[in-house]
């Protein structure tokens, strides 16, 4: 286990270095830079060049890269190029919002998708194709709806017409009631897409094990259908479900970018879009490193959870 953890930490460092290098150079391959993005229409080339020099953007690329690595090695994430604010402060400020949305979405998704998928599998197993088809069909429709569209529809219905949730307004972690009211709709929107995938995977996984011997044995012992379903069938089909939940974090990080924009939530996705638009190299690099670390950590956590569900898994 210790050797495995060590291997994973090394793997994390290599991944981060690879990501850093890739992002550093690709960002600079894209035409334009922070200065031209900032200035837009109204500045002459001479004025722009003066500003570039002052920001060190005219230094050789390798010099800039090594300087960046040196700072990163001592966990100095630096300031944004355009606003000169400490990036770590911005991330710490934005993180609770994105985590609230992500965790809320995962909870809501699991709460809806797993019972729904299990029910669909059970119905299919029992030969009730109608309900199975209805559940699978609804899941597919939800999956097809793009989040930016469902976001606006949700705003029109739940915010404007019904007045249940605000469309804007400041939100902080210190005010949990407002936070809940503000993240409720984004969580709903993101869950719609996630529910579809997870319900389908759950259905397939549960359906597969429903014909296994141990399920038949459990039934023959006279246990209730619910106990058979959730205690035996679901637990033994957990591996693909856990994998999908782990992977769905990746989709979630994409999804939060859209919902944070439309619902005006100051989270990490919002920082990333702002950083990309202003070609803020420093900001985008740091955020990508941050995202890469989240991915690696989640993959690691998913592996560990495998063992909870299946003790045969060896590290």
């Amino acid at each position: 286990m210790l050797t495995y953890s060590f291997k994973r930490v090394v793997q994390l460092l290599v991944t981060v270095l690879g990501v850093v290098t890739l992002v550093f150079f690709t960002m600079r391959l894209i035409p334009g830079d922070p200065i031209s993005a900032m200035a837009g229409d109204n500045l002459s080339g001479a004025a722009l060049d003066r500003m570039r020099s002052q920001m060190g953007l005219n230094d050789p690329l390798l010099v800039q890269y090594l300087a960046y690595l040196a700072r990163l090695a001592v966990l100095d994430f630096g300031n944004t190029v355009t606003t000169k604010l400490p990036i770590i402060d911005l991330i710490v400020g934005a993180l609770p919002i994105t985590v609230s949305i992500a965790v809320g979405t995962i909870i809501l998704t699991v709460a809806i998708a797993i019972p729904l998928g299990t029910l669909a599998a059970y119905m299919a197993h029992k030969g009730n194709r109608v309900l199975d088809n209805v559940i699978t069909g609804v899941a597919m429709v939800l999956d097809l709806m793009p989040p930016f569209w469902t976001s606006l529809v949700c705003l029109l219905i739940f915010s404007l017409t019904l007045g249940w949730f605000p469309a804007s307004g400041t939100v902080t972690i210190d005010d949990p009631v407002t936070l809940l009211r503000r993240v409720a709709l984004p969580v709903l929107v993101l869950s719609m897409a996630q529910v579809a995938t997870l319900a389908r995977i759950t259905r397939t996984a549960v359906l597969e094990v429903l014909n296994e011997d141990y399920v038949r044995t459990a039934r023959s012992m006279g246990w209730s259908e619910l106990r058979v379903l959730f205690r035996h069938a679901l637990k033994n089909s957990a591996l693909p479900i856990v994998t999908v939940i782990g992977l769905s974090f990746g989709n979630l990080l994409n999804g939060t970018v859209i919902v944070e924009f439309i619902f005006t939530l100051p989270g990490i996705g919002n920082l990333l879009v702002g950083g990309m638009n202003s070609r803020d190299y420093q900001m985008v690099q740091t955020l990508i490193v941050f995202y890469a670390m989240i991915f690696v950590v989640i993959n690691f956590a998913t592996d560990l959870i495998y063992r909870v569900f299946d003790p045969r898994v060896q590290f």
């Binding site: 334009g32 031209s36 500003m51 002052q54 606003t83 605000p166």
Partner: protein, 512 residues
């Protein structure tokens, strides 16, 4: 029978009545004093240091925090006094400003004097500041302050438009040395000015709060707090206004949302023709260097019909580089009505009877706009095949600066007509050095605008500017396509939202 109230009892009753009245009225008075105006802000703030400020929304905050020697009348766009009570010049070369006495800096930095102006301008000119606006002040030769309330500025060459240079905008905004030094490298987030509002707090990801400056020289503003909420999406912003979450919606750029808000009864505060959108013709292109081709393009497209079809609220037609509200605007410059037959004739004369391929550079962020679709259709009717090349915005700016395009577009927000003519038409400003993206160089026009800038006699100056507009609109290095209107819808109880010709609002004039 006479009922006499003992004097003591009367005193008690009276003081009780006064106390009751005071208490009863207290909330009303309190409310009047502590009103908050919630305003939509449409992008992440990028800082408010006048020397390095960008983008209209940030400039709007700075406009209310800082002051200049002069400023702009919100309704007419005319130059009016601000920190300078009056000024005089005989030759457009030496300018003497008499400064207002008793003007207080925000955050307790004391009284404003001429030394603050000299510091501010020198700071912009200092290469260390790397201000993109340094060239605006580069014409200053010397500055002196014989006393704290008099400032004499001598220029290297006469400049009749100098009052625009020192206005409450970019390089003209006056900062306080001690505040700048105390802020260090965070100066863009710690602005201290003499304007009606001071920055109270900022969360760069969500909110900017301004508090009124009680010591403002015109008196405290009616609204105590300006609470700017960052709402980037236009549709969300409209819903927030309809929900009552915000009072004023800074800049609604979607025509359909404007119609919804209008029908819902909101106040549609707007300024028309604040900027002109130009089709930049690259004169180094072998086809476009022929003036007949440029004129043919102008005659081939019916911009009046296009704006009416696409966004009648947000756009109007533009017929000149200068806007009709500018004091030196001339009606005598040539205009180009929709006339496809004339366009075909001009093309034939230029040697393109079967037309040619007109490559147009655009941004992928905007995509293929409805306006471009109409242009493609109109131009095809005279034989010109318009092809679009869409690139990302920084690439667009880079290629436009390098001259790697045939035609491109540019929005021209400016309030100083002299700046427009010099920046866009003077050969010393040919891109990438300056904003003359068309690479236009006509010695007659150059001499005319130089003479106009130096001319002290108003009538003669007007004549020269009229001549410059005539030449520019004949040569047509830039085709004025449309003009932009800016809307800030608000609740009906909000008054005084007057958008000036820099698309800014002076919140000192706003009440609720």
């Amino acid at each position: 029978m006479t009922f006499v109230i003992p004097s003591k009892l009367f005193g008690v009753l009276l003081s009780g009545a006064v106390a009751w009245t005071t208490l009863a009225c207290a909330p009303a008075l309190h409310a009047a004093e502590d009103k908050t105006l919630v305003v939509r802000f449409y992008d992440d703030p990028a800082g408010f240091d006048p020397a390095n400020i960008f983008r209209i929304e940030n400039e709007n905050i700075a406009f209310n925090i800082f002051s200049g020697l002069t400023t702009y009348d919100s309704k007419t766009g005319k130059i009016i006094p601000d920190l300078a009570e009056s000024w005089e010049t005989k030759d457009n070369l030496t300018w003497t400003f008499r400064l207002r006495k008793g003007v207080q800096w925000q955050k307790g930095y004391g009284e404003f004097t001429a030394a603050d102006v000299i510091y501010s301008y020198k700071r912009v000119l200092d290469p260390q500041t790397a201000s993109p606006y340094a060239s605006e002040l580069a014409g200053i030769d010397t500055m002196e302050a014989p006393d704290p309330y008099t400032l004499i500025i001598r220029l290297k060459a006469p400049n009749g438009g100098f009052l625009h240079t020192v206005a409450n905008y970019h390089q003209g905004q006056i900062v306080k040395k001690e505040a700048v030094e105390a802020a260090g490298n965070q100066v863009r987030w710690k602005p201290v000015g003499t304007g009606p509002y001071a920055l109270e707090s900022i969360d760069v990801n969500s909110r900017i709060v301004l508090k009124r400056h009680e010591g403002y020289y015109k008196g405290p503003a009616p609204i105590a707090t300006l609470d700017f909420h960052i709402i980037k999406d236009d549709a969300t912003a409209a819903i927030a206004l309809r929900n009552g979450e915000i009072d004023v919606l800074m800049r609604q750029s979607k025509e359909e949302q404007l119609q919804i808000l209008k029908e819902a009864g909101f106040k549609m505060n707007h300024v028309d023709n604040y900027a002109s959108s130009l089709k930049v013709m690259n004169l180094s292109d072998p086809i476009l260097k022929d003036v007949r081709v440029r004129q043919a393009i102008a005659h081939a497209i019916d911009y009046a019909a296009i704006t009416e079809a696409i966004a009648p609220s947000l756009q109007g037609t533009a017929t000149s580089l200068l806007m009709p509200w500018m004091d030196v605007y001339s009606k005598d410059a040539p205009t180009y009505g929709y006339d496809p037959e004339k366009a075909k004739k001009l093309l034939a004369e230029a040697g393109y009877p079967d037309g040619f391929v007109l490559k147009t550079l655009g941004t992928s962020a905007q995509g293929v706009t409805e306006q471009q679709q109409f242009e493609i259709d109109y131009l095809s009717q005279v034989g010109i095949k318009m092809e679009l090349e869409l690139v990302d915005t920084p690439t667009f700016n880079q290629r436009r600066n390098k001259g790697d395009f045939m035609t491109a577009s540019r929005l021209l927000p400016a309030i100083n007509p002299d700046m427009i003519l010099f920046s866009y038409l003077h050969p010393s400003n040919i891109a990438p050095k300056g904003l003359n993206g068309a690479r236009y160089d006509n010695p007659e026009l150059t001499a005319t605008i130089e003479a106009a800038r130096a001319e002290a006699e108003p009538e003669r100056r007007m004549e020269l500017y009229a001549k410059a507009q005539k030449i520019a609109m004949t040569d047509l290095p830039y085709l004025p396509a449309t003009s932009s209107n800016v809307f800030w819808p608000s609740k009906t109880e909000v008054n005084g939202v007057t958008i000036n010709y820099l698309a800014q609002v002076n919140f000192w004039e706003v009440t609720k």
